[in-house]
Point group: C2
Chain length 352, copies 2
């Protein structure tokens, strides 16, 4: 009896030791591919994150008067109460027009190599200028924005404090730089995966670890790696097998529209997968609501692999461990309009 | 020389004494008509403001999935970053439709005798059910709202915690009660006027005090009194002289549409004037952007008095002292949709 117990104990010990070794091996593989979200925002070259600038950027992020209608702000489509986007297939903009692609999340966007699904903006400041001017989004102009901001003394003071030494700090470019500064603070550390990556064995359960192993073994991590699990490089959607037009609309040729290069046809930036649980629906078309379905579609389209239900489930469960601490944002108080603030305009009534 | 100084000192003393007496007299008159905003939210009969309920109400206030489009929340038109409304003549709602009247501020709305410009809702809970269902606003239904909330486990738990002892707490009525609880916290104490009313002589300057005296002497306070400087009673717009159709559109007959009583023709709730500086444009039509112009229009329409520029300016300067400490609101984190959450719909594409 004693011997049996002893054998059992040895077996348990052996199994534990082997399990620890396997966990370490899995962590070593993961560490070579991925990186935890840091606790503090990164340094942005040429854009120091001063408290004044971050606060100004927050006000501008929530400022509907950057849109022609005075209805739409950055937060309308990149909602900090959701996962940093709008839970819509494509966003609704000026005049209730629909945007061409699913709104990407603003959370951790500072870690992407470039912005937009086609990477046409090099950084968040360049990105911020796009929607403000896009006819289907905020439909304003740089002149109107500068007139609007200059009409409110509080904004003028804040631009001065945020861009000290500049003779004329209230500019469209500085608006974008301040928004970038705020957005750089919207990072989501401490996801279960990150805690595990940093050594907390209990942060992931076995199923989630199996999902992680599958994510690496099956090739998902070839495109979705780095600190953001994506957002670094461009790949054809349908690398192996092109999905149907419901998921990959034929009219949207992706990065080809930026580069006019044949090899960029239907090429998109690999979606960052951080907080993916909070950012449905999926793909640039926003056509798929279900995370399991999205994983399955990716298997066929990008890997040529029919993942079975168990594999899909485990990968999805792993992806749900990428949800971090979403930022705490105090709603900013915006200054009142003045007599010289441009009035809201509407497509339906130009006088309004 | 000595005597001259002495005389001068006496004169100054006399003038000071008289000034103090006048200030006290002004305060006595004001105290009989107005009341300071309290530091804490009021008690609402039948709706205890528990922390759980207030937090749930905040989430619902910011919840775009209460609208059919998943784009519009209470905060869209009652923006806590502005003066509790949207700085638009009339709000933009579902399908970019325009609402019929200017959005009233949510700040201090708990102190109004009834809600909406025509008082058709007795309290904030009844009010909250209106825009959620209105076709031109959020365009949802009670069934859809309940299905939406029941699809997210986090909301179910929060309703249970907010309405303990109820067998089926996730109801449309409880949604409204929770929103009322949050809105009751959106009060703005410590305005310069309130500080002065409570004894701080320096909180108002002479011009502002002259404006206050004019506000009472000219008759403005006959309708705009109480804690909210209005919001308590109904009066015809154009009591003395009906304004033009640009300010008082003929198609909107106000409270007549609620009561079908001839004496209620073009009758509206006297607008609460708290934070009026932050809630342009003015009137139910939202037709006037300028506070001085609004005061002038009111003089002619309600009092039959052509106020001169100096009087208008002083009254407006006084009204600007009604701006209090606007609430600090931490943006709530909303739970992710699930497989059973109803999907957004759009007028332009029912599949979307």
């Amino acid at each position: 009896m004693k011997r049996k117990i002893s054998l059992l104990t040895s077996a348990v010990c052996l199994s534990l030791a082997s399990s620890v070794a396997m966990a370490d091996a899995l962590r070593d593989r993961a560490s070579a591919l991925f990186e935890a979200i840091p606790q503090e925002p990164p340094v942005i070259e040429g854009n120091e994150l001063t408290p004044e600038k971050v606060e100004l950027g927050k006000m501008l992020f929530f400022e509907p008067r950057l849109s022609a209608s005075h209805l739409i702000s950055c937060n309308t489509c990149h909602n900090v109460g959701f996962g940093g986007d709008d839970y819509l297939p494509v966003s609704i903009g000026h005049g209730w027009q629909k945007g061409p692609r699913n709104a990407p999340t603003v959370f951790n966007a500072v870690f992407n190599a470039a912005q937009f699904w086609d990477g046409r903006a090099a950084d968040l400041a360049e990105q911020a200028k796009g929607p403000v001017q896009a006819g289907v989004e905020m439909s304003s102009t740089p002149e109107r924005v500068v007139d609007t901001l200059n009409s409110m003394p509080d904004y003028i003071e804040r631009f001065k404090a945020s861009f000290p030494g500049e003779a004329d700090p209230v500019t469209f470019d500085n608006m974008a730089i301040a928004i970038e500064a705020f957005e750089a603070t919207l990072i989501t550390p401490n996801s279960p995966f990150d805690l595990w990556l940093n050594g907390d064995d209990a942060a992931l359960n076995d199923e989630q670890k199996e999902g992680l192993a599958l994510f690496m073994d099956k090739g998902c991590a070839a495109c979705h790696a780095g600190v953001n699990f994506g957002g670094q490089n461009y790949f054809p959607f349908g690398l192996v097998k092109r999905p149907g037009a419901d998921i990959l609309p034929e009219g949207d040729r992706g990065r080809f529209e930026v580069t006019q290069t044949a090899t960029d046809d239907y090429v998109f930036r690999a979606a960052p997968l951080r907080n993916i649980e909070l950012t449905a629906p999926y793909f640039h078309s926003g056509a798929v609501w279900d995370l399991e379905e999205a994983v399955s579609v990716m298997g066929v389209a990008q890997l040529g692999a029919e993942l079975n239900d168990d594999q899909v489930h485990k990968i999805a469960e792993f992806l749900r461990t990428l949800t971090g601490d979403v930022p705490t944002v105090v709603y900013p108080h915006l200054p009142p309009s003045t007599r010289t603030t441009p009035r809201p305009v509407s497509m339906m009534n130009p006088d309004y």
